[in-house]
């Protein structure tokens, strides 16, 4: 069982580390997006106000659309987002229009630097920047490996209670094992929960078969579980769209005061128009929103989503636990810390694998060197890449076309470029230097922010801008964490070199000398 735990962890660990870091960052997805568009200032508007303002804008610009999605602002996003789908025209297929950000009060489009924002980390977390569906499948394989690794880890850990509080520093392999055990066992409920619920978030893709045992098509299952979507055809008859304010108020009354988070309007300005109001998910664990559908012309309630049974509720709660929308800021920071603990669990496991197999009196075998280099690339170089993404946001000119993709490229160029460069350095130095670079990169973010925007740390403190202040402080804390890692790596004793004695630079085993030693064995 210990053997299988090590293999499962090793093979999936590099990707799992990246999933943990980007997933942990995604707890603050809207906050990161707001930080990356410093031109925008959040304004507050009531749901009715924001919805009607958005609709007025859409009426003015594209009244003949097939569907309007209005994502209402909340205290985290601060802006209204709209997405409009044009009527399908077989003669001239319309390109997919991008999402727009609107002012919540006026409904006017907001101009800010184009960026993917927190969406980038979020999407990478489960798509791994690979084309659909390969990214999600790979993420799923890693997730099931993680689940099996958790189970086998618990089974294999004989002294799990006796060792519960054990953490010994500066004892080499034993310290790494203690660190791995501590980060894994002490937060075990979180790790098990996040892994299982993560699989559940994409269960429709990974395991649709139980649904198809009972329903001819998967859509029939979702209709039975969540209520059929109001997919009517347009009647072709024009009719004005009623103001949505009263519909929102009726929905809020039905939901005991909970505000809506999304409005979906089908066939606006048509006699068959429908307005679906979706409930906020920030107040409860179940992340599946209830919905009520009204007629867009008469304002009458047409249908509402069925109350979920125990199984559907369980799935909804599992989704909610993974997304963490229910968490208030304090609990959200706790989730963030727990996510970092998960990354620590994976990272210490990867390092432990190497440390355990490194022998003092034999040169490292090829697999060991490969794993160690992959560890450096996957664990030490990714943080610098993520910092580069944030730095690129401030350094790339705001008006440059295609800048959103440039920011994303920055992350991958720095991550993989640093990983490639690290191959030129001996392993121990590579750890120190890459982690040190990450520390410098993160520490630079508040500085660059102050130099390129008017929302630096001092200005934000004066303006009591909680988000920008905590962002800068978090960057400094992460820099300190990376610096701590670099310092710890520097304190490790220099590993014994297997180069011939006359080499002056003892730290770098030259390739030829390793081959000579291998032949001698």
């Amino acid at each position: 069982m210990a053997w299988i735990h090590a293999w499962l962890g090793l093979l999936a660990g590099w990707i799992l580390f990246a999933m943990f870091l980007t997933g942990t960052a995604s707890y603050f997805r809207p906050e990161i997006t707001r930080w990356m568009q410093p031109e925008l200032r959040s304004t507050h508007a009531s749901a009715e106000q924001a919805a009607q303002a958005a609709i007025n804008h859409l009426q003015a610009t594209s009244p003949g659309d097939q569907q309007w999605f209005i994502y209402l602002p909340d205290d985290r996003t601060g802006v209204t987002r709209v997405f409009a789908r044009a009527k399908p025209n077989p003669a001239k297929p319309a390109p997919r229009r991008p999402e727009l950000k609107l002012d919540p009060v006026t409904g006017q489009p907001l101009t800010a630097r184009d960026t993917k924002g927190g969406e980038h980390f979020y999407r990478f977390h489960f798509q791994l920047q690979l084309p659909h569906p390969w990214g999600r499948w790979l993420a799923g394989v890693c997730a099931i490996f993680m689940l099996a690794a958790i189970i086998s880890g618990v089974i294999t850990h004989k002294r799990i209670f006796a060792d519960f509080f054990t953490l010994r520093w500066r004892k080499g392999q034993r310290s790494w094992l203690d660190a791995h055990n501590a980060s894994a066992v002490l937060a075990l409920p979180f790790h098990a929960m996040i892994t299982y619920t993560g699989l559940i978030t994409l269960v429709a893709m990974y395991m649709p078969w139980p649904a198809q045992a009972n329903f001819k098509r998967f859509e029939d299952f979702t209709a039975a579980a969540y209520g059929a979507p109001a997919e009517g055809k347009a009647s072709g008859q024009a009719a004005p769209l009623r103001p949505v304010g009263p519909m929102i108020q009726a929905a809020e009354r039905a939901w005991g005061g909970d505000p809506p988070r999304t409005i979906v309007i089908r066939h606006p300005n048509d006699a068959a128009a429908t307005v679906t109001v979706l409930r906020t998910t920030a107040s409860r664990l179940n992340a599946r929103p209830d919905s009520i559908t009204f007629s867009g012309v008469t304002g009458q309630q047409l249908s509402k989503s069925p109350p979920p049974g125990p199984a559907i509720s369980t799935a909804g709660v599992m989704l909610g636990l993974h997304l963490g929308h229910f968490a208030d800021p304090a609990l959200r920071w706790i989730c963030f810390l727990l996510g970092l603990t998960g990354a620590a669990m994976v990272g210490t496991g990867q390092v432990l694998w190497v440390v355990k197999r490194r022998k003092a009196n034999a040169p490292p075998f090829f697999g060991l060197r490969l794993v160690e280099r992959l560890n450096i690339g996957a664990i030490a170089c990714l943080p610098a890449g993520m910092a580069a993404f944030l730095l690129a946001n401030r350094l790339i000119p705001a008006g440059l076309p295609g800048r959103a993709n440039l920011e994303v490229s920055a992350m991958f160029w720095v991550w993989f470029g640093l990983a490639a460069l690290s191959l030129l350095r001996p392993a121990r130095r590579a750890w120190i230097e890459t982690l040190g670079l990450a520390a410098v990169a993160f520490a630079t973010i508040p500085v660059v922010n102050a130099l390129t925007t008017d929302r630096g740390l001092v200005a934000s403190l004066v303006a009591a801008d909680g988000l920008f202040v905590s962002f800068d402080l978090a960057m400094l804390a992460i820099a300190a964490l990376c610096g701590f890692g670099a310092l710890k790596a520097a304190r490790q004793p220099e590993p014994r070199s297997f180069a011939p004695a006359r080499q002056a630079r003892a730290a770098t085993p030259k390739p030829t000398s390793v081959r000579e030693n291998a032949d001698a064995v």
Partner: protein
């Protein structure tokens, strides 16, 4: 000293091949068995069909992980393959024969 390196290498490859075979059986066979068994569960559980399907989907991953780990714990690979693929075929066959819930 150099003579017996050849047989050692072959043993290493042979055992690596066996481990890979067991890994693939665990991954693919385990997935098939978990999918088939959870589908059968969904088909047979009384109550609203959407609920039964949801329960099946929820437990499927625990089933997959458990079967996959067992695949490495059991001694003989032939035994493991027989159980996993047998379960997949029997349960899957039963689901197909029963057909979609009326």
């Amino acid at each position: 000293m150099g003579h017996d390196r050849q047989p050692r290498k072959m043993i290493a490859w042979h055992s690596a091949a066996r481990m890979t075979a067991r890994g693939l059986t665990a991954l693919v066979g385990g997935y098939a068995a978990a999918a088939a068994l959870s589908s059968l569960l969904a088909r047979l559980l009384p109550g609203p069909p959407a609920e039964a399907s949801a329960w099946g989907m929820i437990v499927s991953f625990a089933l997959f992980a458990g079967l996959g780990l067992w695949a490495f714990h059991a001694r003989r690979l032939a035994h493991v393959a027989a159980v996993l693929w047998g379960a997949a075929l029997l349960a899957g066959g039963a689901v197909l024969l029963l057909g979609v819930r009326p």
